[in-house]
Amino acid sequence: MGSDAFTQLVDANYAPLYRFALSLARNQADASDLTQQTFFIWATKGQSLRDASKAKSWLFTTLYREFLRGRRRDVRSTALEDLPPDEADPPAPAVDLVAALDAETVVAALQEVDEVFRAPLTLFYLEELSYQEIAAALDVPIGTVMSRLSRGKTQLRAVLARRGQGTRDNVVPFSTQQVRKAP
């Protein structure tokens, strides 16, 4: 792959890769590292990939594997069996509420979702990979991806609803201000 093609590959993919890394690593510095490391690996190994159309999937897969490799096996790692049972589908927060939140708040909410659900959920919202490609990237069966998306969304809704409630609590309705009287 020539340098022009490599630059095109970087331009097309580094931003969504960084967003995926930010969701996993939960801080900018480590997310930047993960993104850089992924392209370094491409530069040394990935160019042997015969099917160029699979480059995007390859990059996301590699980034995820690098994240798993570099992460300490500590409390941040959550086993699926440790998670609470799936809850009933809560109502989705109003779309205008999500739209009113800033991107940082939404990403922070996404980062609160358990890691096992967060990876497929972030890939889903990046809209770069199909559910089959997500399954391949995370090395899990397709049915597992669907199940994790479902449970991940449930968690995300709960976090967003909580954050949205906090936002609303900080706002004093105009009508309430009007009826207040000085002591």
Partner: protein, 246 residues
């Protein structure tokens, strides 16, 4: 398929319509068209997903990340890419022959900067450092590296008098590492006097080399070898800031 099964499938349907041609979703989408209750649920689900996806897409990578990727990956490419070029290009060979004389005159000076087989190439590390984004900090990594991290951040310590560094311990401490020209290079960011510094460390051959300074696009680096380590220190605060803590 009942509605619960349809919902399970439709939750994997991306909001941008990318999956419209996927047969897996066909029956569930059709069911949502026929069943008003399911249709309302699906529309709300899609609207919610679209709102979240739109927010996620607005997250911008840190400034300089793209340039760092391009610079770093360029240095990490295997020489095989070069081998693919035509082997006989007279103009190149003539230029190379002319360059040999120049190289011979400086090779003794440069040798210590690429200290033998297995050693990390100091120049490549310096170029990587010059392209590394300084804007991506959320906290100094040195905070996680125990006594060595504390030593780096102590203003009383001159970096050139750095104690012996155990690279295996850095690895065990989960220190950040990047691959430069096939070599594992540890990267530690730390602060002194409110200024950020990045220190890059890699295994080097024997011998030691005097510090060499370089500046480019607002970044300054100093690189040297000492006690088996290739060291590069970078800051956006200028060469004087480097000299001050060196």
């Amino acid at each position: 398929m009942n509605n619960e099964q349809a919902k399970f499938i439709l939750r994997a349907y991306r909001p941008g319509g990318h999956d419209a041609g996927d047969a897996t979703f066909g029956a569930a989408v059709e069911q949502a068209r026929r069943d008003p209750a399911l249709g309302v649920w699906f529309a709300r689900e899609q609207a919610f997903d679209a709102a979240v996806a739109a927010k996620v897409r607005t997250v911008a990578p840190p400034a300089g990340l793209r340039e760092a990727i391009l610079a770093g990956a360029c240095m990490s490419r295997p020489p095989a890419a070069e081998a693919a070029r035509p082997r006989w290009r007279p103009a190149v060979w003539l230029a190379m022959a002319a360059a040999v004389a120049v190289l011979l005159s400086v090779v003794s000076v440069r040798w210590f900067r690429n200290a033998g087989p297995g050693a990390a190439p100091l120049d490549a590390m310096a170029r990587f450092a010059l392209a590394d984004p300084l804007s991506a900090h959320t906290g100094p990594h040195a905070d996680k590296l125990g006594a060595f991290g504390a030593w780096l951040q102590n203003p009383a310590n001159a970096i050139s008098t750095m104690p012996d560094v155990d690279l295996a311990q850095l690895k065990a401490d989960d220190c950040r590492a990047v691959t430069i020209a096939g070599h594992e290079v540890f990267e530690i960011c730390f602060q002194r006097g409110g200024a950020w510094y990045h220190l890059y460390l890699a295994r080097a051959g024997g011998g030691s080399g005097a510090p060499a300074f370089e500046e480019q696009a607002g970044r300054s680096v100093v690189s040297w070898t000492s006690r088996g380590l290739a060291c590069v220190l970078m800051t956006g605060g200028g060469a004087d800031a480097l000299r001050h803590i060196l």
